[in-house]
């Protein structure tokens, strides 16, 4: 089967062109992966093409790159899936990383961020004679995050990182969750305090890119959301993010739908005047165009059913936790 790969090339020694697209057509098996095709190109067509790989079976995490615009493990992506109609397959280096050459990127920033969350167990008390033990369910729950192979696919496609290099980003945040949710770790509150700062859990846009990109089902975004909840439970309720969530939930509970006029006000706090003034020009412009939520927010019919349901669900959940 013939396939054409359109590869984003870059060579720091080539002073003429900053980067360029190069097409390669190779003959591969129907079952071939994008990585198989790239290796074939390197071995038979153009030895100057650089890429990184090792296990070829989605274990080592070294072959993450963008295929048709989204991050994938090249060894885990079938040619027939990437090009159902036989069209060209676009292959680019990962996003959110400096390119070293062709498809090889510098992973320094990735590892710096992982280091930033102190990714090791910090238990308290005297060291036990044997091992530090944990309940089975807790470890089963953590197995999902522990299957991360540090490939960086999630980080490549993170929309928040794209606009802010300080964002701790999905892989390291998922790693942080691995310790936040570990019953043996004694630094939970300290960890949450750090993650609650700017560039941490509240800066995630909930865009699902990392969930979609992860080849191992780690679902970093879901872990970040779980940490938001844990941070609020640990008493970190003063951030804009925490207030926004609380105000949002209150609004649904009391009227069945969102009160958009009051939501931003509650989020920044009634008395946070400087921040509130910040809404001024935007609010004013909206008002002039008649683009404004209703001043009188009418609840949905039979809203008492909704309020009762909120109470009932919470009571059930409370009982289950005990």
């Amino acid at each position: 089967m013939e396939v054409t790969l359109s590869v984003r090339r870059y060579n720091p020694d080539d002073k003429e062109r900053p980067s360029w697209w190069q097409d390669y057509t190779v003959d591969v098996e129907r079952t071939a992966s994008v990585l198989d095709a790239l290796i074939k190109v390197r071995e038979e067509v153009d030895g100057s093409l650089s890429l990184r790989c090792s296990c070829r079976s989605a274990i080592c995490g070294s072959c993450a790159m963008r295929v048709n615009g989204h991050a994938h493990l090249a060894c885990n992506t079938k040619i027939i899936e990437a090009s159902q109609d036989g069209s060209k397959i676009r292959v680019e280096p990962m996003g959110n990383a400096a390119v070293v050459k062709d498809l090889v990127v510098d992973m320094k920033m990735f590892w710096d961020k992982v280091r930033q969350v102190s990714p090791w167990l910090q238990p308290a008390g005297p060291e036990p004679a044997g091992e530090y033990t944990a309940p089975n369910e807790a470890m089963l729950h953590l197995a999902g995050v522990m299957s991360c192979i540090m490939c960086g696919a999630c980080v490549s496609d993170c929309t928040s990182l794209e606009v802010d290099k300080n964002f701790i980003a999905p892989a390291a945040l998922a790693k942080a969750y691995r310790f936040v949710a570990d019953p043996r770790d004694a630094q939970t509150v300290e960890r949450l305090r750090m993650l609650n700062e700017y560039s941490g859990i509240w800066d995630c846009t909930r865009c699902y890119e990392c969930v979609q990109a992860c080849p191992k089902g780690v679902a970093p975004m879901d872990r970040i959301m779980a940490m938001r909840d844990k941070a609020m439970e640990a008493g970190f309720t003063k951030t804009y993010g925490a207030r926004h969530t609380d105000a949002f939930v209150d609004s649904i509970e009391h009227s069945g739908w969102l009160d958009e006029l009051r939501l931003p006000i509650k989020t920044v706090g009634m008395f946070n005047l400087p921040k509130l003034m910040g809404f001024g020009p935007v609010g004013l412009r909206a008002l002039m165009r008649g683009k404004m939520p209703p001043i009188f927010h009418t609840p949905v019919p039979n809203v008492k059913n909704v309020r009762r349901l909120f109470k009932k669900v919470r009571a059930t959940q409370g009982r289950e936790q005990k």
Partner: protein, 297 residues
């Protein structure tokens, strides 16, 4: 054809121009809407409630689905990418796990409701590509959008995660917006940001980052020659339109790219009065679009 309709909160709140435009367009397409909010349906939780209490979110959406089943209209039309994504995810969790569904239903019992698992929430955009089809859609066009260059902007929740949105089963959903724009006679301006985040969810948390996303998408589309951007998501609209003035300040350049709701675009092509489509209610004036179509604003 009778159909259940869930307009979402934002189409009646921060983007009040969307709700009447969508209703007019749906009627023209032959849909008779039964509005679920009038029957007591609530906000989907928009993913915000879910980050605190996913079960509660699922119960609320099951309640909406049960209300739709009760009136024998399990097909639900949505007009918001976020509502769509949240409803699809909740539905997936409940339909794939009968024990979980039973647990959810226990909560609804008191109100005499039960979700049987037959609801099928779909965005108007999907209904157009799946039920109406491009050939039929073209017959509604009275004012072809000839010469108009449009950039699509989907909104995260209508493209990810692909599993709960059943994109493998319905590959036509993936380029639905482009196909509708073309059927209406417009020219598509493709750009990589079309499936990225608009920034709205972190607006009150990190305004600079949020506005930077507006900068990136609007300037990219504009520099590729777009006359306007089209979105099926009112939350994206809030940020891309409402915060474009802030984006121009932050980027220190002129942008002024009109952001059009999908139903407004359909309405324009159907020959409706731009006034009825609420096109005057945008922060970034849509006048350029009307001029290009030679319609009086």
């Amino acid at each position: 054809m009778k159909i259940a309709f869930w307009p979402g909160c934002v189409s009646r709140g921060g983007c009040p121009e969307l709700y009447p435009a969508a209703k007019k367009v749906a009627a023209q397409l032959g849909y008779e809407l039964d509005e679920l909010q009038e029957r007591g349906a609530t906000c989907t939780g928009a993913g915000v409630l879910q980050e605190k209490n996913q079960f509660l979110g699922d119960v609320l959406n099951a309640r909406t689905f049960a209300i739709a089943e009760k009136i024998n209209l399990p097909d639900i039309m949505t007009i918001c990418s976020t509502c769509q994504g949240v409803m699809s995810q909740a539905n997936k969790r409940m339909k794939s796990n009968p024990d979980y569904l039973a647990k959810v239903n226990e909560q609804l019992q008191e109100e005499g409701l039960q979700y049987k698992g037959t609801a099928n929430p779909r965005h108007l955009l999907w209904m157009i590509v799946e039920d109406i089809g491009m050939d039929k859609l073209k017959t509604y066009v009275r004012r072809p959008l000839k010469g108009l260059r449009l950039a699509p902007f989907y909104g995260c929740y209508i493209v990810r995660p692909s599993g709960s949105l059943e994109l493998k089963l319905h590959p036509e959903r993936e380029d639905s917006l482009e196909r509708v724009m073309e059927a209406l006679g417009a020219e598509v301006v493709d750009f990589p940001g079309k499936t990225r985040c608009c920034g709205f969810p972190i607006l009150t948390i990190n305004e600079r980052n949020s506005v930077q996303m507006v900068v990136n998408h609007t300037t990219d589309a504009k520099d590729r020659g777009a006359d306007a951007m089209v979105t099926p998501c009112p939350l994206c609209h809030l940020n891309l339109d409402g915060y474009q003035p802030s984006a121009m300040l932050q980027a220190n350049r002129e942008i002024n790219l009109p952001i059009i709701h999908l139903p407004q675009l359909l309405g324009l092509a159907m020959g409706f009065d731009p006034q009825d489509m609420g096109l005057k209610r945008h922060i970034i004036s849509a006048k350029k679009v009307l001029t290009k179509l030679q319609v009086a604003a």
